[in-house]
C-alpha cells in the first residue's frame, strides 16, 4: 500500500520547523478522530464486558445470589476437570470446526469449478446457490428440525418408504451432531463458492494456457495450477471460517439444544447453559474464557501460518 504524506506533498518538500509540527499534529488528530468512535464502542461493549467476565469468573457468581465473594481460580479448575467439558464439549467443538470447514471448502471448490464455465442460465444457478448464505441460521435450523422431526419429518417418510424403520435422527447423539454439521456446511458453502469464483476471475490466464499446451488433463490443471493459485484466498477463508465455526451457537441451539443428555453440546452452548440455564454465571464465564483462549491460540497459529505460506508462494 502506498503511503500518503499529504503534508509533505502540500509543502513541496520534507517538513521541518513549526509549521510542519502543527501539520503533523493535525494529521495525528485526524487519525485519532477517525478511530475514536469505533474504539469507544469496542472498549465499552466488548473490552469492558470481557474484563467483567474475567472478574465474574474469579468469584462465586450465581445469578440468584446477592453476594459475589472472590474465590480465585476455582471455577477454571472446575471446568478443566469437568468430564462433560473435556470428554464431550471440546471434541464436539473441534469435530464441528474441522468437519464444517473441511466440508465447506471441498464442496465450495467443487461447486465453484462446476460453475466456472459458461452455460445457459449460469447467473440464475449462481444466484440460487448464494441463497442459503442469506438465510438466518435460526430459520435454516427450523427447516432442518422439521425435515428430521422423528414423527412427521419427510426424512422418516422417505426412510420408511424405502422399507427401513423410522430413525430417531435428532435424539441419536452422533446423528444429531452430524445433522448440525451438515446444516452448517449447507449454510456456509455459498461463502466459499462466492470467494472462489471471485478469485478464479482474477487469476492470470497464462499458466492455464501453458498447461493446456503441455497436454495436462483437467484434473492435473486443477491440482497443479488452479489450487496453488487459489491458496492465499482459501487460507484466509479457512482462518475466518474456523474461528466462526468454533463459536457456533445458533444452529446447534435451535436444532438439538445440546441434547440428548448434553451429548451434542459445543463450547458456546456449554458456556451459555452454565450461565443461563444452571444460573452459574461464574462457571459460564470461566468456560467462555477457556474457549476464547483456545480459539485465540488456534487463530494466531493459523494467521501466522497463513502469512508465511502466502509470502512463500509469492
Amino acid at each position: 500500500m502506498t503511503e500518503v504524506h499529504p503534508d509533505t506533498l502540500r509543502r513541496g518538500g520534507p517538513p521541518g520547523g513549526e509549521a510542519a509540527a502543527s501539520l503533523f499534529r493535525e494529521r495525528r488528530r485526524f487519525t485519532l478522530t477517525l478511530i475514536a468512535p469505533a474504539a469507544l464502542i469496542l472498549l465499552v461493549f466488548q473490552v469492558l464486558p470481557i474484563l467483567m467476565g474475567v472478574d465474574a469468573s474469579l468469584r462465586r457468581f450465581s445469578l440468584t445470589d446477592e453476594e459475589h465473594p472472590f474465590i480465585g481460580l476455582g471455577n477454571f479448575r472446575r471446568i478443566l476437570t469437568d468430564s462433560q467439558f473435556l470428554g464431550i464439549v471440546l471434541p464436539n467443538t473441534f469435530f464441528f470446526m474441522l468437519a464444517s470447514v473441511g466440508g465447506g471448502v471441498v464442496l465450495g471448490l467443487a461447486i465453484a469449478m462446476l460453475l466456472n464455465r459458461p452455460f445457459p442460465g449460469r447467473t440464475l444457478v449462481r444466484t440460487l446457490f448464494v441463497f442459503p448464505l442469506m438465510v438466518a441460521p435460526v430459520v435454516a435450523s427450523i427447516m432442518i428440525a422439521w425435515i428430521f422431526n422423528d414423527q412427521f419429518g419427510i426424512a422418516n417418510v422417505i426412510v420408511t418408504a424405502l422399507g427401513f424403520g423410522p430413525v430417531a435422527w435428532l435424539v441419536t447423539p452422533w446423528l444429531g451432531l452430524l445433522i448440525v454439521v451438515l446444516t452448517d456446511v449447507w449454510l456456509q458453502t455459498p461463502f466459499y463458492v462466492l470467494i472462489i469464483l471471485a478469485a478464479l476471475e482474477t487469476l492470470p490466464r497464462e499458466p492455464f494456457e501453458a498447461a493446456r499446451v503441455d497436454g495436462a488433463s483437467a484434473w492435473q490443471i486443477f491440482r497443479n495450477v488452479t489450487l496453488p493459485l487459489l491458496r492465499p484466498v482459501l487460507l484466509v477463508a479457512i482462518v475466518i471460517r474456523s474461528i466462526d465455526a468454533f463459536r457456533v451457537f445458533d444452529t446447534v441451539w435451535t436444532i438439538t439444544k445440546g441434547e440428548p443428555g448434553r451429548a451434542t453440546e459445543v463450547f458456546s452452548i456449554y458456556a451459555y447453559k452454565e450461565a443461563f440455564v444452571f444460573l452459574n454465571l461464574d462457571r459460564g464465564a470461566a468456560a467462555s474464557l477457556i474457549g476464547a483462549a483456545i480459539i485465540m491460540v488456534v487463530g494466531v497459529v493459523l494467521y501466522w501460518g497463513l502469512r508465511r505460506i502466502t509470502e512463500v508462494s509469492r
Binding site: P6, P49, A136, A198, I295, G299
Partner: protein, 280 residues
C-alpha cells in the same frame, strides 16, 4: 474475464465432451436441488392447511391461512417491527463508525495503525459468548437491558472489527493519487475523505450496508441474551417457537418463511453488490 480452468482433456472427442457436459449438468442440478430442498419444504409446509401439516407429502390443499394467523399474533408483529428497526439503526451506526476506522487503517500507517489493526484482529477472534454474557450484566447495571439502545450498541460492537477490516479493503482499492491531488488543491483531511474518497468507495459500502442489515436481522445469540419481554426480536421468538410450541409447525413455518423474505430480496436484487462486498 472467466478462466476456464476445466478445459478440454486432450483428444477426448465430441462424444466424451457430451458425456462430460451431461455429467456436470446432472451434478449441478443434484447439488442445487439438495441445497434448495429445505427451503422448498418449509414453504410447502407453510402453505398446507393446519389439519394436513403433519402429512405435507400427501394431499394437495394449499392455503395462505397460516400466514394470516401468524401475522395476527401481536408478539410476532412486534418482533418483526423490532427486528426491522434495530437492523436499520445498527446498519446506520455500524457503517458510520467503521467507514472512518477502515479509512484510517487503509491510509494512515504508523504505530497507531498497527495497534488498532492488531486489536481488531484479536477481538474478532473472541467468541461472542465470552462477551455477550457479561454484556447482560453491563446492560442491566446501565439500565439498558431490554431496551432499544441496549440492543443497538452491542449490535454495532459486533460489527466493528470485521467491518473495519472490510472497509479497509474498499479504501485500498481507491487510488491514493486522488487524495494527493485533493490535498494539492487545498482540501483538508476531512474534505478529501468525505468529498473525494468516500464517493469512490460507495458501491462497496452500500453492499456492506445491505449485508449489515441482513446480519442484524438474522442475528440470534445477542438477541437471545439481551432481549426480554419488552423488546422481542424475530429470531428469538422463532427459536422459542421450536421448543415451546413445538407442535404448531404450520404457524412456525409460516413465520419462518416471512422471516426469510428479506434474504430472498437481497439474493435476487442486491446479490451483485453483496458479492463485491464479500470479496476478500
Amino acid at each position: 474475464m472467466t478462466v476456464r480452468a476445466g478445459g478440454r482433456a486432450g483428444a477426448g472427442g465430441a462424444l466424451a465432451k457430451g458425456w462430460r457436459q451431461a455429467f456436470v449438468g446432472l451434478a449441478l442440478a443434484g447439488v442445487l436441488g439438495l441445497f434448495l430442498f429445505p427451503v422448498f419444504w418449509l414453504t410447502l409446509t407453510a402453505l398446507r392447511p393446519e389439519s394436513e401439516v403433519f402429512y405435507v407429502h400427501r394431499g394437495s390443499h394449499i392455503t395462505l391461512a397460516n400466514f394470516l394467523k401468524a401475522w395476527k399474533s401481536p408478539k410476532i408483529q412486534e418482533s418483526f417491527v423490532n427486528s426491522a428497526v434495530l437492523a436499520v439503526l445498527a446498519t446506520i451506526f455500524s457503517l458510520q463508525v467503521t467507514v472512518m476506522s477502515g479509512y484510517m487503517l487503509s491510509r494512515f500507517k504508523g504505530a497507531t495503525n498497527k495497534v488498532w489493526f492488531t486489536a481488531i484482529y484479536l477481538f474478532r477472534t473472541v467468541p461472542y459468548i465470552t462477551w455477550v454474557m457479561p454484556l447482560y450484566l453491563l446492560t442491566q447495571s446501565l439500565g439498558l437491558y431490554d431496551t432499544y439502545l441496549g440492543l443497538l450498541l452491542p449490535h454495532v460492537a459486533v460489527h466493528v472489527c470485521f467491518f473495519s477490516w472490510v472497509m479497509k479493503g474498499f479504501f485500498d482499492g481507491v487510488e491514493p493519487e486522488l487524495e494527493q491531488a485533493a490535498y494539492l488543491d487545498g482540501c483538508s483531511h476531512w474534505g478529501a475523505f468525505l468529498r473525494i474518497i468516500l464517493p469512490q468507495a460507495l458501491p462497496g459500502i452500500m453492499a456492506l450496508g445491505i449485508l449489515c442489515w441482513l446480519f442484524t436481522w438474522n442475528e440470534f445469540l445477542f438477541a437471545l441474551i439481551l432481549t426480554g419481554s419488552r423488546t422481542p426480536l424475530l429470531t428469538v421468538t422463532m427459536a422459542q417457537f421450536v421448543h415451546e410450541l413445538g407442535v404448531e409447525w404450520h404457524l412456525m413455518s409460516a413465520t419462518a418463511v416471512m422471516a426469510m423474505i428479506p434474504a430472498l430480496v437481497v439474493t435476487l436484487f442486491a446479490q451483485r453488490y453483496v458479492v463485491s462486498g464479500l470479496r476478500l
